[in-house]
């Protein structure tokens, strides 16, 4: 009986969606809580897309339904994804800032006949967990690997890694170590620090004592990066000539005003800098700044959300608005276009985005504003992490 009822509801939901003119996209992200800034950037990227391209694909109208998962909480993420599919009848799931939240929802995709477009979560394995996942952001492996080359080329032979002790941090450590050793360098020590660390001075002391010439670090973007960068300067590492390498998480644009002078000259690799010089990006940034309200809050998740919308629209085009997850995903395999971040494509095998990774340096522009200045481009970088996972 219950089964029957459920089937009836499902049928109503599915058939309703298939012929309706409105196509709903469910976006799950941290819209409140300590990571609200990143959720805001999702929304800004999506709003920018809609502002620039309109909310119609053919005759179908796109409607975005937001759901809030303030902190990594897979159970809640899954419940909300379920609700989005069953109650709201969304045809696409998108967003996902945290890996566990994305992982939790992938289990639903097949049965719900819904593709997922990951707009941030950066663990390589997500795309492997379901064939209906496409990612338009980056992986930690992807953004980390090039910096190892940079370090080696700048004459560093002995490096130390200092990462936050959780999934992405460990990914970054592995990625750097693998790439750096391939380049012929040596990682003398790998240190993992608890996510809750406030005081980095003792760690800096250890870095100093290790005799490394370069420090590679990964911290999630947010408040601790401020204390970290200050500790790097204040404990004499900068003065002592220990070079600093990190991923762009550390110097995201919205944190730069706070980091200020301390961050000048820091080298990071990342897939996107708000300052990227291209007409596509200028248009995007103008629209996104308007959408977010305060330009200082614009940061990297916005561009993945923007491109995510591009991918979703391509999927809608390909399926003519009918719900067919497999067809939708197949349609974007190998898709390539010019994103605000530069030329990108969806790798047909992994369904992960292939993109340029840029080496950037924190600099100060004429108006006294700090920004990530792109100094070098590593073209068409895929995700080396997936191979590592499969190994």
């Amino acid at each position: 009986m219950k089964k029957l009822l459920a089937a009836a509801i499902a049928f109503a939901a599915l058939s309703g969606a298939a012929y309706a003119d409105t196509i709903k996209v469910g976006v799950i992200g941290p819209f409140s809580g300590p990571f609200a800034l990143q959720g805001k950037n999702f929304k800004a990227g999506i709003d920018a897309w809609l502002a620039l391209n309109g909310n119609k694909v053919g005759s179908d109208e796109i409607q975005i339904v937001y759901r809030d998962v303030p902190q990594a909480d897979p159970a809640r993420s899954k419940a909300l994804a379920q609700e989005l599919v069953v109650r709201e009848g969304v045809q696409y799931l998108a967003g996902f800032y945290f890996t566990p939240d994305a992982m939790a929802a992938t289990a639903l995709l097949q049965q719900a006949n819904v593709p997922m477009v990951v707009m941030n979560a950066a663990t390589s394995a997500i795309v492997a967990s379901s064939p209906l996942v496409v990612r338009t952001s980056f992986t930690t492996w992807q953004t980390t690997t090039p910096i190892a080359t940079v370090a080696k080329e700048q004459g560093v032979t002995k490096a130390i890694t200092l990462v936050s002790d959780y999934g992405p941090g460990i990914d970054a450590e592995n990625a750097f170590k693998t790439a750096f050793e391939k380049e012929g360098g040596k990682v003398v020590e790998t240190i993992r620090m608890p996510l809750s660390t406030n005081d980095f001075a003792p760690l800096m002391q250890r870095v100093k004592d290790s005799g490394a010439q370069g420090l590679f670090t990964f911290l999630p973007s947010g408040p601790p990066t401020l204390a970290f960068v200050k500790a790097y300067n204040d404990n004499g590492l900068k003065a002592g000539g220990i070079k600093f390498y990190g991923t762009g998480d550390l110097t995201q644009e919205s944190d730069l005003p706070a980091l200020g002078e301390a961050a000048l000259g820091l080298q990071t690799t990342y897939h996107y800098a708000v300052s990227h010089d291209s007409p596509e990006n200028k248009t995007f940034v103008a629209a996104a700044e308007k959408a977010i309200g305060n330009p200082a809050e614009l940061s990297f998740p916005s561009v993945s959300a923007f491109d995510g919308m591009y991918v979703i629209c391509k999927m809608i085009e390909a399926t003519g608005g009918k719900q067919d997850a497999k067809k939708a995903v197949d349609a974007v395999k190998g898709l390539s276009w010019t994103s605000p971040r530069g030329p990108v494509s969806i790798d047909p095998d992994s369904r992960h985005i292939t993109e340029n990774i840029y080496l950037r340096e924190v600099a100060k522009d004429a108006s006294g504003k700090y920004y990530n200045k792109e100094v070098r481009t590593f073209e068409k970088q895929g995700d080396p992490g997936l191979a590592f996972v499969k190994k």
Binding site: P34, K40, S196, T197, A201, R206, K230, G236, P257, E297
Partner: protein, 287 residues
């Protein structure tokens, strides 16, 4: 030896920063018997005031601190009148509920009004950069925090132990009803103590901003740290809080230096050990 010295310096600096930020909570919990989970919220409000004064109005650092302390106390007065007064003497859980509610509201309002980005309080040139100690260098600001810590500790000790007001406070803590019967206006004592606690919170928020960056979620993020410091020290005891901060600073710093991966284990196991051995805190009054 160098390592030990180095750890010692870091521990002292970190411990004193903890002290400056948490001592206000020790006052509320010890003297007023309120589990004030919103302590961090007031520290954050102070930090925002200072940030606004120094960064946007271009005032000096000292002026910024003054604005922060005065501004936060002014904001806190109506909150004390309307909300805190209702929970003096209420069960702990009720206090927890109320102060968490206040914290949520402060977070929400801050997020709405000032956005989710980090706020900083620019340091004066004197406090920027680092000082060479011979065997290593240390941020000039850290030395300032250490000095502030000892000054606050000494000032509070003087206030409580050596002034008329201190006598009234101690009497009120021991037996509020009896003290009131002796003609002391305990209401005033409470209000002033609360103001002092808030002023200390604001001060700590500003001074500690280099270590605990200011953002809307400040209050929730560091709530646990504050609670741990106060209970290890023994609520209401100034020397206790001082010892606790130095001890916890040492444990944390040593752990982080020697085995950062297990830093959390170190710290919390030590907390369990200390709290089990000294259930009323290192300097708690025996009943």
């Amino acid at each position: 030896m160098q390592t030990v010295l180095s750890i010692g310096v870091d521990a002292l600096a970190y411990g004193m920063a903890l002290f400056v930020i948490s001592i206000g909570l020790s006052v509320t919990m010890g003297l007023m018997r309120v589990v004030n989970l919103a302590h961090g919220a007031f520290a954050m409000i102070g930090g925002y005031f200072a940030s606004y004064a120094v960064r946007d109005l271009g005032l000096g650092y000292a002026a910024g601190i003054l604005v922060a302390v005065v501004g936060t106390v002014v904001i806190a007065i109506p909150i004390e009148r309307l909300l805190y007064r209702r929970i003096y003497g209420a069960p702990q859980l009720t206090q927890v509920l109320m102060t968490i509610g206040i914290t949520f509201c402060v977070i929400g309002i801050t997020n709405f009004a000032f956005g989710p980005t980090l706020k900083t309080v620019p340091l004066p040139p004197l406090l920027q950069g680092s000082v060479d100690l011979g065997f290593r260098s240390i941020a000039a600001h850290r030395i300032f925090v250490i000095i502030c810590g000892f000054t606050v500790a000494a000032g509070l000790w003087f206030l409580v132990e050596r002034t008329n007001f201190g006598v009234k406070v101690r009497a009120t803590v021991d037996n509020a009803a009896m003290t009131a019967a002796l003609g002391v206006r305990t209401e005033v004592v409470y209000a002033v103590s609360f103001a002092v606690a808030i002023a200390l919170a604001a001060f700590g928020g500003v001074i500690g901003a280099e270590l605990l960056p200011l953002e809307p979620y400040y209050a929730l993020r560091y709530m646990v740290t504050f609670l741990v410091v106060v209970s290890v020290g023994g609520a209401g005891s100034i020397p206790g809080a001082l010892i606790a901060c130095l001890l916890l600073g040492t444990i944390d710093t040593t752990g982080r230096y020697l085995a950062p991966e297990y830093g959390e284990f170190f710290f919390y196991l030590a907390v369990i050990l200390i709290v089990t051995l000294f259930p009323r805190g290192l300097a708690g009054r025996m009943k």
